[in-house]
């Protein structure tokens, strides 16, 4: 026997569907209009900017944003043709490919981040109490854990392809690059 949703659950669920869709559309649109980046591209730039040497193996990029490898290939291809990323082969694994954020890519991210954060704030965060934010964080953290096919949400920086050159993931302007979605 089907357990239908209660009236209040239905209402909440419908609001959720509509709200999340509109929010995603808005953020993507803002980013596109002002900076010519999609959310998917932006997220990849952020992950790279946070990584040692601003470099990650393709599979790590894929895992960090929970996208398919195929999708990452396509998106990184676009980012590469825009000059924001370059691909190098991995010395320690002949199959590996390392995506590296270029200076142009970093600048692009640094320029886009403040506007993006502002969008996130005005569209969502600023309208929420601290308690609301906490609930959102907990609820979707749980959902992500439950639905994340392979565990390891925070499993990055495990590749053996770093060349020793150090690189901070953006300190203050850099937390800019990361601020809207950076690991805490």
């Amino acid at each position: 026997m089907t357990r239908w949703l209660s009236a209040s659950q239905q209402q909440a669920w419908r609001s959720y569907l509509l709200g999340t869709t509109l929010l995603a559309d808005r953020l993507d649109r803002d980013l596109r209009d002002k900076h010519g980046l999609s959310m998917a591209e932006y997220e990849i730039l952020v992950r790279l900017s946070e990584s040692p040497n601003r470099a990650l193996r393709m599979a790590e990029v894929a895992d960090s944003v929970k996208n398919s490898r195929s999708r990452i290939t396509h998106t990184v291809q676009r980012l590469e043709s825009s000059g924001f990323v370059v691909r190098r082969s991995c010395a320690s694994d002949g199959r590996g490919v390392i995506a590296v954020l270029t200076d142009d890519g970093f600048s692009k991210l640094a320029a886009a981040a403040p506007d993006h954060v502002e969008s996130v704030r005005t569209s969502l965060i600023d309208g929420l109490s601290d308690e609301d934010v906490a609930v959102i964080g907990r609820v979707f953290g749980t959902v992500a854990e439950r639905l994340g096919t392979d565990a390891a949400v925070g499993a990055m920086c495990s590749n053996g392809c770093h060349d020793g050159t150090s690189s901070r993931p953006l300190s203050s302007a850099g937390q800019g690059g990361s601020a809207s979605r950076s690991a805490s």
Copy 2:
């Protein structure tokens, strides 16, 4: 000066992004695998099932799910070629087109709804307290209101094309058809 997100806000936002993406993917996948319907198609079937005569003008469909007209044209085209919807011209407005849910479409929806609701429950609702659900509902209701370009979220059933034939939007099996997203 950019107002970056606090650590807890960042964490919540990142969880939100990941969780909502995974949730949307999961629901769409479940619906596709079990019933060959996309979420977009499912939602349209639901709106039609809830409407008088199981019929809505294209623009009303578009507004009710906050999609572009173009997108609705394409999706309804698919639904029509699947036999779940038919399109008729509107008597009172020569430009108008009315999408009507067929019996096959209704059956399809009635079959898909229980599984969909179950997906929603196991992926999200059942893991939440009543308070959590209330917060989600309020937060995204507000977001939807703020971002909903044109107001009227619930503005439907205003077309002048009803022919007087009555049709309940699914009573109990019907709340089935509607249960996961129906107006309360």
